[in-house]
Structure formats: structure tokens, C-alpha cells
Amino acid sequence: MSVPRYWRNIPQRVRMEALKCKSCGKIIYPPRAKCIYCGKNDFECYTIPEKGRLISFSIIRHPPIGFEHTTPYVVGIIEFENGLRISSQITDVDINELKIGMEVEQVFRKVSEDGKSGIIQYAIKFRPIFQNI
């Protein structure tokens, strides 16, 4: 991935910065110029909550270019209290303990790297809740 493309989305993929539509209250992530639900463009900043629930998952056994030697890994859709859903990887999880509805939490991890000499791409992934504090 080109350096500018990775760097540009650090606030969204690392600090989980999203937009909240002031008109309809829905959370927009990834960010858009206008709300995809009500069409207005009046937003406020919103940070995606730490914890959510896994509403679906899949285990990748045929990786795409850039993810060789990392299989099997888990991808999933996580839903948050406010109805927001995002896609991400689920890490530190035993494949046998995966269940729709399980609670997961944010964790900062390596996603990929551009070979041995390119940059490393980091982002937030999710893992089973470590501890309910």
C-alpha cells in the first residue's frame, strides 16, 4: 500500500475516528462527504467504542496478496451499541471459541507489511474481551 494511502487513514484506522450525523444520529464509518442514511452533511466527531459484538465471522484459508503465511486468520463484522458495524480482523482467538454474539474489544496490531523493506501497516483489530473492567 502506498505510503500516503496508509498515512492518510491513520486517524480512522488507528484512532477509530468516525463521524456522527447531527441530523439523523447515525454513525458514518468510513467517513463520507454526506450522510448515506439521510443525505445531510452536518457531522460531529465520534470515536468508535472500545467494545462490541461479533455478528458474523469467517476463517480465511486462502489469503490475498500481502497476507501469505498468516493463515488461518479470522475476519468478522463487529456491531456496537449504537448500531454501527465495521469489518475487521479478529485476533488472539481460538477458532473453536468463535461464536456469533461474542463480545470483542479493540486492540492495536500489525496488519501487513510491504515486504522486508517497505512500511508496516498498523490498525485496530479486535480480540475476545480480555477482562471486564
Partner: protein, 385 residues
């Protein structure tokens, strides 16, 4: 707006055409179409293609095909809507003729997936999804469908076997289609024992990787009888978009863009789902078939398996689905698929479908889409007398 007819069609077999390039395939299909009719000229070419830039290192495809066909200097350009490029090309051709700007146009789609060796083809296909927020995480295109499939099975309690049995039906149809890539029958075991791609999707839930080109020739309906004895009308056409990333969908299990596109097409053609005699739907993955059938109004939500087992989708059923074998068996040369569907329905409506011929086919529907229905095209064709 002028009414638009399809007066001819041409297709290559879908296959791994190692010895043929984009130019070869598109010209082969175009010449097949042109040689069947008596047209004085071609005013423009609209070509759908998704992956040429990545896999063939070639842009400017419109020029490339016009050049190879010896048709310069007519206007010619590429339309790209991922796996919906074919359907989008049809829409472009339709707009060109119905607007009155052009009279006779060649509308086609072509794809050379096998020019991408190894993982390059699937990586290129994956770009139908959201690169920054899906592919970035290593979420493959197959796994996006897998996420929806798992959720669908969980919510509606539809058994895994139903998806396998749909693939079996596809192969049974495709085995009789000389243009199909995979002309052999399979059984449920074949699917369920095939390789894991992205749980729960297995190899035989997925359309194969192949190359091909399909072309139709459009002209104003009022002129059609001048060029051909038999023709069909594009009676209705609709298109719609949805979010590029599936997580942002309001309802993960509703392919809303298909619903909207279909409603627009039904309205324009003045028909309803029960009037449709046959459908060519976009079964890139077996889950796509289920959701497409539901969005098109052929099945209630979560009940595609009921209709499947009632025989509704069989060649002699209520709504014969994918008599061509569909994407699963006929194949999915992505940019061309949408045009294959149109050509196949045209073939059926004109009584030229051979072993797969449906009797008295009057109205057919084609549904083509990008990604998991982030961009959809629904076209309704009517037989003309």
C-alpha cells in the same frame, strides 16, 4: 425516449483461453453477432471490462477493441462497474440508442482473468470491495460473501445443504450449455467436500475463474425488422448503488440495490415478478443466488431453500433460474457476465437455446451486480412478434 431492440448476439465459450487475448475474444464474439444480421454500420461500441488494467496492463480498452475490429473511427469506450461492468455496458448502450444519439451499437463485455497468474486474478477481483476498510485487513472478496452467508444461515436457519443443492442445479443446467466453462454435473457431496475458501464458503460455492466475451447488437425497436427477422426488446432496465463496504449496509441480509433496480425495471416494463418466465441471476457465490432471488421478488426473505426444494427454480419450475448454468457453471468472466446473461435470455426468447430451451419464453430478466450488490443492474427483455 426511443424503444430499444436487441437484434443479434454472439458469445465465446467461457474457458481458460490461454491462446486468446482480450482483442481476440471480443472480436470473435462481435463478429459472430454481426454476421448473423444485415446491418449497414455500427455507430458506437460500449465494452464492459473490470480487470484489464491490472491483469493485462492495458487501459483504453474501448480503443483497443475498436482498433482490432477495424472499426475506428467510431466512438468506443470502456465501462467499469466491477463484476457489473456487463450490465453497466448494456445500460450505456440502451441510453445511447434510446436517446437518439446513436442508432446501431455494439454492446459487449470481455474479460481475461487467466492473464493474471496465481493470486493476481483474485486480488484484482477483490477491488470491487472497499480497499481501505475491507481488503486492507486481508478480508478477501470471498470472505465478504462468507460473512453474509454465515449471518444468513444463523438468522434464517437455512441449512448449508441448500446452498450446495443450488450449485448442483447450476451444473445440471450448465452441462447442457455448449458455451459453459464447467459442463459437468456434480452432486451435493462435491460441494460439501470441496476445499475451504473462507468458512463457510467452499470452492464449489464459488464461480470459477475464466475468460470470455459476449456481445449484443442494439438498435431502435422501430428499425429492428430491417436488420433481422427475430429480435427482442429491452422492455425495462434499472440500476442502483449501495454502500461500498458491507458493514455500512442498513440490513446486512438485504441486497437493496437489486431491489431498487428491479423495481425500476419492473415498472418500466410494466410487469411484476410473476410475469417473468426465466431469469439469469448473479450467483458469483451460492449465497448471492439466495439473496438475489429474494431481492428480485422471486422468494420471500430467508425462504430461498423452500422454493429451491419445491422445484421452483428448475427448468420446468415456476421461475427457471440460470438455464445457462449461471455464474457457477457457465462461468464468470466478470466484465462480460452481464452481457452473457442478456445474450442467453435473448437466445431463449428467440427459441435458439438448444438443449436448454424453455418453451414459450416471452419475458426474461437478467440481474448483474458489482461486489455484493454495491452496484446492480436489472434488465427485462420481451420477445417481439
Amino acid at each position: 425516449m426511443r424503444r430499444v431492440a436487441i437484434i443479434s448476439y454472439g458469445m465465446t465459450k467461457v474457458d481458460r483461453h490461454w491462446n486468446k487475448s482480450i482483442k481476440d475474444l471480443f472480436s470473435e464474439a462481435t463478429l459472430k453477432a454481426i454476421n448473423k444480421v444485415n446491418i449497414p454500420k455500427v455507430d458506437a461500441i460500449f465494452v464492459g471490462n473490470m480487470c484489464a488494467s491490472d491483469l493485462c496492463d492495458q487501459n483504453n480498452i474501448g480503443t483497443v477493441v475498436a482498433d482490432h475490429l477495424g472499426m475506428i473511427p467510431i466512438p468506443s469506450y470502456r465501462i467499469e462497474a466491477a463484476c457489473g461492468s456487463g450490465g453497466a455496458a448494456i445500460l450505456s448502450g440502451f441510453m445511447a440508442v434510446s436517446s437518439g444519439l446513436f442508432d446501431i451499437v455494439v454492446v459487449g463485455g470481455v474479460e481475461k482473468l487467466t492473464d493474471g497468474v496465481g493470486k493476481k486474478a483474485t486480488f484484482s477481483l477483490g477491488k470491487a470491495a472497499d480497499f481501505e476498510y475491507e481488503l486492507f485487513y486481508g478480508i478477501t472478496f470471498a470472505s465478504l460473501n462468507a460473512l453474509i452467508m454465515r449471518r444468513y444461515m444463523e438468522v434464517y436457519k437455512v441449512p448449508r445443504e441448500a446452498f450446495a443443492d443450488f450449485a448442483v442445479l447450476m451444473h445440471r443446467n450448465g452441462a447442457k450449455n455448449p458455451y459453459a466453462q464447467l459442463q459437468f454435473e456434480i452432486n451435493r457431496e462435491t460441494v460439501l467436500k470441496s476445499e475451504d475458501i473462507a468458512d463457510p464458503i467452499k470452492l464449489y460455492d464459488c464461480a470459477p475463474i475464466g475468460d470470455g466475451a459476449a456481445v449484443v447488437i442494439l438498435c431502435p425497436l422501430e428499425d429492428a425488422s430491417r436488420y433481422s427477422d427475430s429480435f427482442v426488446e429491452i422492455a425495462g432496465i434499472g440500476s442502483a448503488t449501495d454502500t461500498i463496504d458491507i458493514a455500512s449496509r442498513e440490513d446486512l441480509l438485504l441486497l437493496k440495490s437489486i431491489l431498487i433496480a428491479a423495481n425500476n425495471a419492473y415498472k418500466m416494463a410494466k410487469v411484476s415478478p410473476s410475469d417473468i418466465d426465466l431469469a439469469e441471476i448473479h450467483d458469483a457465490f451460492t449465497i448471492d443466488a439466495a439473496l438475489s432471488l429474494e431481492a428480485l421478488g422471486f422468494s420471500k426473505r430467508g425462504e430461498f431453500d423452500k422454493l429451491l426444494y419445491d422445484g421452483a427454480f428448475e427448468p420446468d419450475g415456476l421461475i427457471p433460474v440460470n438455464l445457462s448454468g449461471g455464474l457457477k457453471s457457465r462461468g464468470h468472466p466478470v466484465g462480460a457476465t452481464g452481457v452473457y446473461q442478456i445474450a442467453e435470455i435473448t437466445m431463449q426468447l428467440l427459441g435458439e437455446a438448444g438443449k436448454n430451451q424453455l418453451k414459450n419464453a416471452e419475458i426474461g430478466l437478467a440481474q448483474n451486480m458489482a461486489g455484493v450488490a454495491s452496484n446492480s443492474y436489472v434488465t427485462i427483455l420481451k420477445r417481439c412478434r
